[in-house]
Symmetry: C2
Subunit: 314 residues, 2 copies
């Protein structure tokens, strides 16, 4: 079994190594790379049965209707909010994504930026590099802090476990209770209380209709004074204007790794605030995670061909 | 019981809060602060029974001989290499230090600078602050790395435990085997092999006659290519010239928090090398550690008065 025609949308070629593109080429008769579906010939659109897309791709009803033979959409990433998966399903199209490839990478990054902040590591490094070895640093420890994890998926769970290893007093909120996590001493707490009482909060939720805006104005207002909030998840989980308003009070530190969905206006609003530390979108970027992600991507494409679809999201 | 006369050598007063100085004042008739023992009157030298000193103090035979009534030397710090403790003991003088106050602080700092390096966090932070959110970062993870801890005192043990929590493959070398640590899955390895095989090495040894220069030229040469070595212990543990020679090959990363004992020449030799990251002496500086350190200091001074000397080192 092979795909007849694969369309790679918005790929530059750098996303996968040559050896992996070669593997994909073995799975199809033809592969077309384009930045614009409209530029593809009517004949090719008629027969394309596989569409490969990248994070942020918008695949709506209109695009799907242009591809009558489409059977498979492979997302090179976790988030697939831009794909009309329900409509795809109604047309018999399987959509797959790549989850959990960066669990460890994101959890490690979370503690990296947390410790950077708590110990002022960037300043220390720069200062010593400039020949100044003075020690006017007042760091603080993770140990004994009340640490609240919102969302116990893979990344949230790993984050909670690491926080516990650091000796924090770890609490979680998640849509479903996790008895096995609670047995390990990580305690459940209602979301409102978790936000209002934690010294350190990490947000580890997937974005969906239920979670969008879940950290709303009242919840943002309730955050403990001097709390540290780390968000490696989509910013749409928070009510942005309320967050900016709270940050302007300068009694909260917010750290995030910039997600593609953020607007220039949002970034500009955050930039002047010293208590808002924006990172490039690198929480998910580790050598190990990148390798695993690519391997899963190829495996997804191949498994669907073998009628054993993996990581189907619709 | 009270001390008759306490001499505080090289203290500026900022080392302890007013309330703690007040506590000390309750433990003595008189307290003298000086930067120069020679400037103290002969009468005062005759009766001084308590000497309070700071890290790096040099208290040799000559100084001790000037203080015939001395009974107690209190070091505000862990290292007491500059104090002739044997001679002090021969004169019936108890020397105390403060150990273990910063176990957690140093272990957390170690992972802070390790993750900073592995994920290039300072550059990411600076770049985004300047409005550049591009993601050309190739991070790597602690998980699955071979992690070697040299010296399983309190800090080494805590470091090994955290490395294990991060999913590293953790090995240790220590003068004495630690069955309880091995039972937890942290394995013993001969020092030479540990150095030659670890991807990440942390040095957590106390400095003494036995450990000085222990990481000698041959051992430094044997370190695995591209290894990361973190030293929060005194630099005298390593053969400095051999380290510089190896670092110039640019196939090793060395991180340290600058210790007072380092010479200007050593710092100047290290500064131009990008693979040698020197931090100010802040590994031990966390709010929690500072508080504990001061509390232990006062307790040491007080306990000796009560004939229940704590943290005696001679």
């Amino acid at each position: 079994m092979k795909y007849s025609k694969i369309i790679c949308l918005d790929f530059t070629g750098d996303e996968l190594e040559a050896a992996l593109w070669e593997k994909i080429d073995h799975l199809c008769d033809t592969r077309i790379r384009t930045n614009n579906i409209q530029s593809i010939s009517a004949d090719d659109l008629q027969v394309a049965d596989c569409l490969l897309v990248k994070l942020g791709a918008h695949i709506d009803k209109k695009v799907i209707d242009q591809l009558p033979a489409l059977k498979y959409i492979g997302m090179l990433g976790t988030g697939y909010g831009g794909i009309d998966t329900a409509y795809a399903a109604s047309k018999g199209i399987t959509v797959t994504n790549i989850a959990d490839y960066a669990t460890e990478g994101v959890a490690e990054f979370t503690f990296g930026i947390l410790l950077e902040y708590l110990r002022d590591i960037s300043r220390a490094k720069r200062q010593a590099r400039d020949g100044d070895y003075s020690d006017d640093f007042v760091g603080t420890e993770i140990r004994c802090k009340r640490f609240g994890v919102i969302g116990l998926g893979d990344i949230g769970t790993r984050t909670a476990q690491l926080a516990q290893a650091f000796g924090a007093d770890v609490w979680y909120w998640s849509r479903h209770r996790k008895p096995e996590i609670e047995a390990a001493g990580i305690r459940y707490c209602e979301l409102d209380k978790l936000l209002a009482t934690s010294d350190i909060v990490t947000i580890n939720l997937a974005l969906n209709a239920e979670t969008e805006g879940m950290i709303h104005a009242a919840r943002i207002k309730s955050l403990k004074k001097q709390a540290i909030v780390i968000n490696t998840s989509p910013m749409e989980l928070l009510e942005f204007d309320a967050l900016v308003k709270r940050l302007r009070k300068n009694d909260l530190t917010f750290m995030l790794d910039h997600s593609d969905e953020m607007t220039v206006e949002q970034l500009v609003a955050m930039q002047p605030m010293n208590n808002c530390i924006v990172y490039p979108p690198i929480a998910y970027l580790s050598r190990e995670a990148s390798k695993l992600k690519k391997d899963i991507y190829i495996d997804n494409i191949e498994s669907f061909l073998k009628h054993k679809a993996k990581n189907k999201v619709n």
